[in-house]
Amino acid sequence: MSTPIVSLENVSVTFGATRALVDESLHIYPGEIIGLLGHNGAGKSTLVNVATGAVAPDRGVMTVDGHNMPLRGRPKALEAAGIKVIHQEPSLATNLRVGENICLATPLERRPKRERKRVAADALASVGAGSISLKAPVGDLSFGQRQLVDIARAHATDLRVIFLDEPTAALGKKETTALHGLLVELAQSGKGVVYVSHRLKDVLELCTRIVILREGRIVMDQENVGITAAALTAALSPSSATPGATHRAGELGAIDDAAKLMVNTPHQTLGFEPGKVTGLFGMAGDRQFDLLESLYGLSRGVDATLGDARFAPSGPRAAVRAGVHYVSADRERDSLIDGMSARDNLLLPWLKQFSRFGVISNRRVRRTYDASRDELSIRGARDIDNISSFSGGNRQKVVIARWMLVSRPRLLLLAQPTQGVDVSARQEIATAVRAAASAGVTVVVASAESDEIDLLCDSAYVCRSEEWRPVPRGVRDFQEQLLAALLA
């Protein structure tokens, strides 16, 4: 076998009391596509962060082409050595143009303008995005196009190994296929590819080798030959505790003000029944998300009734007072306050209920936090620790618990609530959504992912240019029906 491009040996990382990575090694060979799997907090991100220099490990050695690489948490040095990372959210400056972004903060910046242009155009062409103009403002591009520009940026200067963190979380089927094709091409040209994902199917189809992390240790590392999805699931969570087994459904009991939601659009009236989970399905960036935001009072002009009364909240505050809760698709920007503790993040909208004369009762706060933690099995740091010391899936659970468990809504608006969380967190969130519905809550889920609608919803409206097409869950495969309605 050839020599590895990158070798990480005996790497350990601890965050406070958490051992994020325990004495693990990983070798990346040219031409490989490694699928990196693991639950939230298993150490995937930590491993990627060490390899790309964002985190300095406590112990460990890294070599690139056999040369020692100091692991001091210097992303620049590793980038110069050809080790690049593509984050879930493309790291681009949206106020600059495509060409400028490709050269931004790379050695290309010091090259003459003509050469910059040529290299950038070549890079775009080599990732199959030659149709994107160098002059286009990045802010005008679609999510998938931005991701391609990000990859082109990695490609424009020496590229040896590329790490992709959940690259398909926000992509449609077609874009996902195209991206996978590109990754195969990159691997064939001798690069190393590390593909972090929660989607077992994608990993099984695409990757040549599969590495599974659990609680900071590599529990499986083998060539992707004859591995089944069942084997992966087993390796991911050995403890046979089935997700949601400890769940005590409907702890808050049935709500007594269940209300049907009716939304009038120019062409039709959409009905959302209490006790049911109704999906709004459309392409990424489509109107399903706008509809949710308008129901939360974030934009004007929604014509709706909730129960018997007309419903047009003037803003989030009024919406929350009316029993309407909203989980945004952009967790970090819209839902969490970095620097505040997990329990403050959980309870901020409800502090009034936990305080007397403006003084917060810590005892009651703690009790409520513990209840939510147990119900959704929120794992990681303590309740008084910064929310950002929790992993992504557990942060999402805190947001879900805030809007679903601490106080029961009448109308629950969820935008891609299971996006970017692992299989077990997905199940736990799904169980909580079910429980809310069976307590009489009207639940609306907006998503661009058919499997998410399939997981959560009883029926759906599919966004078709001007109108919404109702798709009930029938005898045929629900996902197929959704996609058929979308593309018909």
Partner: protein, 366 residues
């Protein structure tokens, strides 16, 4: 040891304070006397009154540069009303009233008109400073009613002047708001992520306005107490106070971008500035070097705080920012914000004033 470690972690100003006391104490025996300690405390009393609420404002992601000028006008207003009416009470009420109005103007422009707090309050730094000079024609006001004189010489238990009592109350209330009350959580949330706070139903504008009014009010109180201390209302009494106050806030470990900071740090910052100013005089340094040392202390303090924070992030359990968000910062370093669409909305109760679809929510902090 753990206590020391956590103090050091949250605030190197504590350590700096101890070092300063040791250095000045060994250089001059007069430094470590109870009389000098009293001097130190009294020298920062008025500053403390406006600095504590200012720290809360900075934690919420805003800033007020006009505090010194509001203090000047507050003192002058009280002086003029007292001279005209002969009533101490009316003078105090006028000063308080001015503070509330000045704070409300700042707050209204920042919270409701969506203007940048630095720009707005920089403007009022000049406006109120100019008005203080104009009202008095640059002269210092004397000759006040006897009740004013006796307020100045009043000492509780023969030791504590009125200003110190006020300062203790203001610091106590600020501490309580920040660390025990609901309002304090709202301040942190707005400073930490204004958009998320708004989406959780926090009345961002009302909290902002209230905080600016509180800062305006306490600035005017500080200005009046300064006049009490000096026995005269000088139009330039508050000049430069905003710089001192902000220095204390930042030395106290409050994040200038908002979202982080503790009251204990601010108290340490206050004592640090007090000890430094006093100590330099006691050991006979040129008074012209005072500013230099305070500036240098600020720079060194911030640098140490920052690197301490980084070190501690690798150690065990320190609630607050830790390694994960360093990573997070690195992740998002180049990207986000581009599509930070302003959440279009207005709060309940004012929809009639706004045309449909108008975006009235702005990220008005920094």
């Amino acid at each position: 040891m753990r206590v020391v470690r956590s103090l050091a972690a949250t605030n190197s100003t504590f350590i700096g304070l101890v070092i300063l006391i040791i250095v000045f104490g060994s250089l001059n025996s007069r430094f470590l006397t109870s009389a000098n300690a009293e001097n130190i405390v009294l020298s920062v009393t008025e500053l403390a009154i406006l600095t504590a609420p200012l720290a809360l404002l900075v934690i919420s992601g805003s800033v007020d540069l006009s505090v010194g000028s509001i203090a000047s006008v507050g003192g002058v207003t009280m002086g003029m009303v007292m001279s005209d009416t002969g009533s101490l009470t009316l003078g105090i009420l006028a000063g308080l009233g001015f503070g509330v109005v000045a704070g409300a103007i700042n707050g209204g422009l920042v919270a409701y008109a969506g203007l940048n707090p630095i720009v707005v309050t920089l403007g009022f730094l000049a406006v109120w400073g100019g008005i203080a000079m104009y009202l008095t024609e640059g002269a210092t006001l004397f000759e006040f009613p006897g009740s004013f004189e006796s307020l100045g010489s009043y000492r509780l238990f023969g030791i504590f002047p009125v200003a110190l009592l006020v300062a203790v109350v203001v610091i106590g209330v600020s501490w309580w708001i920040l660390h025990a009350s609901r309002f304090g959580k709202y301040l942190y949330s707005i400073g930490g992520n204004e958009r998320a706070a708004f989406l959780m139903g926090v009345s961002v504008k009302r909290v902002r306005l209230a905080m600016f009014v509180a800062v305006g009010l306490t600035s005017a109180i500080a200005g009046m107490l300064l006049a009490v201390k000096l026995g005269a209302a000088a139009p330039q009494a508050g000049r430069g106070v905003e710089i001192q106050a902000l220095t204390v806030v930042l030395l106290g470990g409050v994040a200038f971008a908002g979202g982080a900071g503790r009251m204990t740090g601010v108290i340490a910052g206050l004592l640090f500035v007090g000890v430094l100013q006093n100590g330099l005089v006691v050991v006979g340094t040129s008074q012209f070097l005072q500013q230099f040392f305070i500036g240098a202390a600020l720079l060194v303090g911030i640098a140490i705080n920052d690197s301490m924070g980084r070190l501690v992030r690798r150690g065990p359990a320190s609630p607050g920012r830790d390694l994960v968000d360093v990573v997070h910062d690195a992740d998002t370093g180049t990207a986000p914000d581009g599509d930070g669409q302003p959440g279009p909305v207005s709060r309940s109760g004012e929809e009639g004033l706004r045309s449909a679809g108008q975006h009235d929510y702005e990220g008005s902090g920094q």
